[in-house]
């Protein structure tokens, strides 16, 4: 095997290049004196020697090497300009036992794809980048590359690269050497036999790292492009040795290969349906009602279109979510639509909640509000016009005057902020309102045990909302029952008799005992 690699064609190359269209299928398409053929050979030999042909995926760049897949019998994909390290990230993350080779030129890597390259290097993706630096864009006709030398004439620097306007050549190895993650960085040249043998060792070292999944290696290869640089093969090599290496010194910038342990990639994504469900589906709780519960009473027979408005920090959005969660737990259709965007960065906040037995048409309240909760005067002024006849307005009477609205609108002032303050947490004001709402929404429609069922749905919604914070949950449950009392007083009708019993320590502790909590995967 080793003999064959040394003296014959690497078995990683196809015997005949049948993927190459046209009659010539024995030779590569590269120009005489081009470095790609030499580097291809070094890579093919190194892949064969390491026995990683079946795991190797070669990403070909835009440029002359776009046709690498003509020659290598390895998984191959020719990608768009500069994106190879991003595509390579997708390959290696999705299939961690693969050996990803990103083969790129100086325009591809140093100009249009520099971000993809640098970021992949910085993440330490498990890949080897072979960076072919020939100081110009070859395939497109010899234009200036980021690595073009000062004063060098190209088709887009006909007067020579002017460092005043075009800057200096990009020193890629030196830049990558500033990053923490890369494990091996070396610059080699293909100018002389001695240099090619050094390049061979560098390619081998990089692929050793790749095989052992040690991380990111970069081998920069100074390479000839005699046709575009208008030089003979001999002059080309002299240019590499005398001009290029002056600016791009050869040598190893970093080699941590020995310090990094071989890594055996583990890849075991969970696809078993039962396991998937255990992560994604909410756990059934011990409290609340069964999933197929359908209340026979009239509640939400017609849509409840609810607007909740105030300012950021009052728990406006979470009050909406608690209400929606309650509805979901009772198997109603619910929608919750926040005012998202710049408003959430401070200032006003509002959300729309719709509860219905039927499919909800528009999630936008659109002037058809039948319940408005206003926590600030601005919110009240902004939205009171959307209230339909015979609708309900709930406002925080701790801070607002009784609003002036048409007589057919039922108005409830709830002393939310003051009640919350007494409980010891002003943030509970939204749960006080929730309690009052439970009276409006539920108690005026339901009798007896139904109310208790709904209480449990509200309790569960509160637990859900403040998951994993038992003390906060307790305060909010307490606030909820205080709000219920306040709501009942306003409504002047009887409510279920267990409120006082619920609003005490023992009862609340019973509600928030550990097995009533959801798995955190269902956090909203």
């Amino acid at each position: 095997m080793k003999e064959m690699v040394k003296f014959g064609k690497s078995p990683v190359f196809f015997d005949k290049f049948t993927r190459r269209p046209g009659p010539i299928q024995d030779n590569m398409h590269y120009c005489p004196g081009c470095g790609h053929g030499i580097l291809h050979k070094l890579i093919a030999e190194a892949v064969a020697e390491r026995g990683i042909q079946d795991k190797t995926i070669i990403l070909a760049p835009v440029g002359c090497a776009v046709f690498a897949y003509y020659y290598f019998n390895c998984g191959g994909i020719s990608v768009s300009h500069g994106r190879a390290p991003a595509v390579g990230t997708g390959v290696s993350r999705s299939t961690p036992d693969s050996c990803v080779i990103s083969y790129q030129g100086d325009g591809d890597l140093g100009a249009i794809g520099f971000n993809e390259f640098l970021q992949a290097a910085n993440r330490g993706e498990n890949m080897t980048v072979f960076f072919v630096n020939n100081t110009n864009y070859g395939m497109t006709g010899g234009q200036m590359a980021p690595t073009t030398l000062p004063g060098q004439i190209t088709t887009t620097t006909p007067y020579g690269r002017d460092v005043n306007t075009e800057g200096y050549p990009l020193k890629v190895c030196e830049m990558v050497d500033a990053l923490e993650k890369p494990i091996y960085i070396e610059r080699v040249a293909l100018s002389t036999t001695a240099n090619i043998m050094k390049a061979r060792r560098a390619v081998g070292k990089a692929l050793d790292n790749l095989k052992a999944h040690k991380g990111f290696s970069l081998v920069e290869v100074l390479s000839g492009c005699p046709v575009n640089l208008k030089k003979s093969a001999e002059d080309m090599n002299r240019f590499i040795d005398e001009n290029m290496t002056k600016y791009f010194p050869l040598g190893c910038f970093r080699d941590r290969s020995a310090e990094v342990e071989e890594f055996v990639p583990e890849y075991a994504p969970v696809h078993d349906p039962e396991e998937v469900k255990s992560i994604l589906f909410p756990r059934k709780l011990n409290i609340g009602v069964s999933a197929d519960f359908r209340n026979e009473s009239d509640i939400f027979r017609s849509e409840r279109r609810i607007k909740i408005a105030g300012f950021g920090g009052q728990g406006i959005l979470s009050l909406g979510i608690m209400l929606a969660t309650m509805g979901k737990l009772r198997n109603f259709n619910v929608s919750w639509l926040p005012s998202y965007g710049p408003e959430q960065r401070g200032g006003s906040a509002n959300c729309s909640v719709i509860l219905s037995r039927e499919k909800i048409a528009s999630p936008i309240i659109d002037g058809e509000c039948n319940l408005l909760i206003a926590m600030t005067s601005t919110a009240l002024e902004k939205f009171k016009g959307e209230l339909k006849p015979n609708s309900v307005l709930v406002y925080d009477s701790s801070t607002l005057e009784r609003p002036d609205v048409p007589a057919d609108i039922k108005v409830l002032g709830i002393d939310a902020l003051n009640i919350a303050r007494e409980i010891g947490n002003v943030k509970c004001a939204n749960s006080v309102i929730l309690g009052a709402l439970s009276v409006v929404l539920v108690d005026s429609y339901l009798q007896g045990d139904d109310k208790m069922d709904f209480d449990r749905a509200f309790e569960e919604a509160i637990i859900d909302s403040f998951n994993n914070k038992p003390e906060v949950i307790k305060q909010n449950l307490y606030a909820f029952y205080e709000g219920k009392k306040a709501g009942a007083k306003c409504f002047k009708h009887g409510i279920s008799g267990n409120i006082d019993k619920k609003a005490n320590d023992d009862a609340l502790n019973e509600i928030i005992k550990a097995d009533n909590f959801r798995d955190s995967s269902t956090d909203l």
């Binding site: 990608v79 991003a86 990230t89 999705s94 993809e116 969970v270 469900k277 969660t325 909800i360 048409a361």
Partner: protein
Amino acid sequence: MVEYNNRILLKGNEAAVYGALLANCDCFFGYPITPASEIAHTAARLFPKLKRVFVQAESEIGAINMVIGAAAMGKRAMTGSSGLGISLKQEAVSYLAAYELPAVILDITRSGPGLGNIGPEQSDYFQVVKGGGHGGYRCLVFTPDSVQEMCDMTMLAFDLAEKYRMPAYVMADGVIGQMMESLTLPEPLPPREDSPWALNKKDAEGNANMLTTIYLEHDELEEVSRKLHAKYEKVKQTEQRAENYLTGDAEVVLCAYGVAARVARRAVDVLRKKGIKAGLVRPLMVFPFPENALKDTLSHARAIVAVELSAGQMIEDVKLAVECRVPVSLCCRYGGNIPSVAEICAAAENALKGGAR
């Protein structure tokens, strides 16, 4: 024995990620952008729990190219963004189409052009449905109008993308992405094998697989493109999807998708109460566009109104579908605004007056 509930309350953006996971999506590559960011947040939380891959990419361009890498390895992969991020991804979408690789892209649309704002708009229609990137290609485009559909359609998008080996978009406006609704989680799909084109598998001749998009010979590229277009034609013939609401006898037919369809549906109810025979054709996909569903209304429809959150993009496909045999008018708002029920009703009544010949 732990029991699970399949009813859950989620944002549209979250539901799409649930759908992806239930459909065996192995990799998510994302980049933050409002109003789509919850997609990345949810993926970052849930993909690792299922030992699947989440990467926050360096850019929108990086993210979609990572998707190419994973899809090239035969995995199900996804990314998500919003209008301006989608603009950046278009180059790679053209490549996906050319490689014939499946992938799912969520576009939670916002208002533009330029930075615009993060309010809902449907003016990504042209860039998503008509190509957007270079070269002649098409993508499957799903248009959910509820959180339930965000989940269901994302699952279906993976299946159809794979069936036809083409990229699929799930295009939803910011309202559908941001709002929470109760939904029923579907059962997870059974595990799947990596696709046969995976680069670590072999082709029919026993050689390593390869993917390319470059064909220097004109005849060769023409043949490759001809096959692509034959595929798109087949998709047009077989995959049209629409939901009809009271269109059976409708004299004025509304056509709307996404949140516009939710408002339009309510407008239909209001119009019907007033004795006006209104109906709604809601495209569930806009490529292929449901031409047949619209054509079917022509025996009784006197006017069609396209309701859009743009200055009129889908309306072009509506006109083509009905070959301008009835007047097609536009009811639209944009800049983050949504046409009200009243505005849509007025447009429908107006169209009916104008449409009476």
